[in-house]
Amino acid sequence: MKTRAASASIISETESSANLLLGKTGRPGLPLGRRLSRTGLWFALPAILFVGVFFVIPQVLNLRFAFSNWTTYSSEIKFNGLDNFASLIDQGYLFQSIGVTITYALIAMVAQNVISLILAYSLKDSTRVNGFFRSLFFLPVLLSPLAAGYIWRGLLAPDGPLNDFISLFIPGFDWAWLGETSTALASVALVDAWKWIGLTTLVYIAGINSVSKELLEAAIIDGANAWQTFWRVTFPMLAPAFTFNVVVTLVGAFSAYDVISATTGGGPGNTTRSLNIILRTQWGQGNFGTGSALGLTVTILVVVVAIPLVWYLRRREAKI
């Protein structure tokens, strides 16, 4: 109870000092700050143009193409209502690949955040040993997702190192992790998590180290043990890092493509066929309208899932 009160007061203190730093008080009247708002546009203009042309315009165009008959053979791009979505549903592509994409994203997000939190907590102090391990776990981050895919395709092969190890206990174990419908999707999602865990871990370490020492000491003086200090003090204070990591990993995994290309290519059957994998085949067949519809589906997934999630997690941060 006491720690709660202490943390609340410390938060409000840091907030007010942050406001001072941010110049929320007393900014009016500063000469440059004022004048910049007039010429500021010129400094922001290049960024606005680049994002406007190469990010915003394609998003708007996609709203048109997703509902159009555009193919290699069409002479003009015409509105065709929901035909693209209807044909994707008829062929059994749409809901199946949405399911694959969401499952992939959830597995990758949960694995990545749980493992990163544990690693971050054990590597939180900046010692030489920890520096070594932080760098070591960061190595997979540097690899391209494609390379990560090939590496794990080797490790998970029926006669690969993982099964060789399991065979020490279960002789002759030769499960095809990526070739069996029951394990392929989870395997590729975990490869994705493996590739990014080093980065998520560093973000959590930054979060853990931003928890004030006084607060932790207060908790220990009040008789909290390590487990309690973590769950009652550190974890709640980690809220911004948690929001950031959960959202970034989930949203990133909705665009699942690279690791799948290097490992299963969408198979076995259609068990790892994510939205972007079908987009690729539709593009290859010249079905640009249906391809755009699949791209729009990824965007909608992000909007429907990520924005409420950011809102919820932010509110949770505010409550703590």
Binding site: F55, S135, V251, A262, S292
Partner: protein, 278 residues
């Protein structure tokens, strides 16, 4: 108390080591040792040392048949302009967003921040590049990367600008420095640490990009390293030739790993200290 904490530290290091061996150690070992083997031996995918060493042959095949140096050059040609442009353009926009209270600029800031979250759309991007006669060109790919990866840098740097006191800028302005001079002499140096963190995140995603590269720069001459790895791995009709695939993984991973080894203190330090500002 002292004894207990040293016991804890030892246990922790042992635990971390036991985790790191299968997590990073064995994957790296498997890749390197198999990249030294002959095709037949590497097909077994085990962790033993090669009986027949085939180092030079394998790596020469990657360099010659895989067009390694061309792909490396293409990757540099894409990454370096992208990072320079995003850092400069992003920093100047962050200064404007951080200091201005104009509603229009605030709206632009939110749109750019949103571009971090929403996935860029592929097919309309190709359509747009086609209208500009830039589809399939390295320049078109670079422009798209600049426009779609700007968000992170703008977001991080704007947070940083807002936490900086304006005194320095004011003093310089009173001394008669122009807006542009203030930006180059004062703002850019102050933003250097956050731009470094942004560049690290950028280089990782740009260097490894496969999805967009596959659509925007198809064709042999412009291949970046991931595209080269993919076409190299799929060049044999049957199963993968693991010795060659792994040799390519080593060669295409090496530039970033080497750069990281030189700058690891700054990279890890920067990401653990500056990543979440703002």
């Amino acid at each position: 108390m002292k004894l207990r904490s040293t016991v804890f530290t030892r246990l922790r290091v042992i635990g971390l080591t036991l985790f790191a061996i299968p997590w990073v150690g064995i994957p790296i070992w498997m890749v390197i040792v198999n990249s030294f083997k002959t095709a037949g031996e590497a097909a077994d995918l085990d962790l033993s040392l090669p009986k027949d060493w085939s180092v030079v042959e394998n790596y020469m095949t990657v360099i010659v048949q895989g067009n390694y140096f061309q792909a490396l050059g293409n990757s540099l040609l894409v990454s370096i302009p992208t990072i320079l442009a995003v850092s400069l353009i992003g920093a100047s926009a962050a200064w404007a967003f951080g200091r201005s209270r104009s509603k229009g600029l605030q709206f632009a800031f939110y749109v750019i921040a949103l571009s971090m979250l929403l996935p860029p759309t592929l097919i309309p991007t190709i359509f747009l590049l086609r209208q500009m006669a830039l589809d399939g060109t390295t320049l078109g790919y670079i422009l798209v990367l600049i426009g779609t990866r700007m968000g992170v840098v703008v977001f991080l740097a704007t947070g940083f600008v807002r936490s900086m006191p304006v005194d320095l800028e004011d003093a310089a302005a009173i001394d008669g420095a122009s807006r542009f001079q203030v930006f180059v002499r004062i703002i850019l140096p102050l933003l250097a640490p956050v731009l470094f963190v942004g560049s690290v995140i950028l280089i990782i995603t740009v260097w490894g990009d496969f999805f967009f590269a596959q659509f925007l720069i198809p064709g042999a001459g412009r291949e970046t390293l991931p595209l080269s790895l993919y076409s190299f791995a799929n060049s044999s009709a049957q199963s993968l030739r693991w010795n060659l695939v792994f040799a390519h993984v080593v060669m295409s991973g090496l530039p970033l790993v080497l750069a990281f080894l030189f700058a690891q203190k700054r990279v890890v330090g920067g990401l653990t200290e500056g990543a979440l500002k703002g």
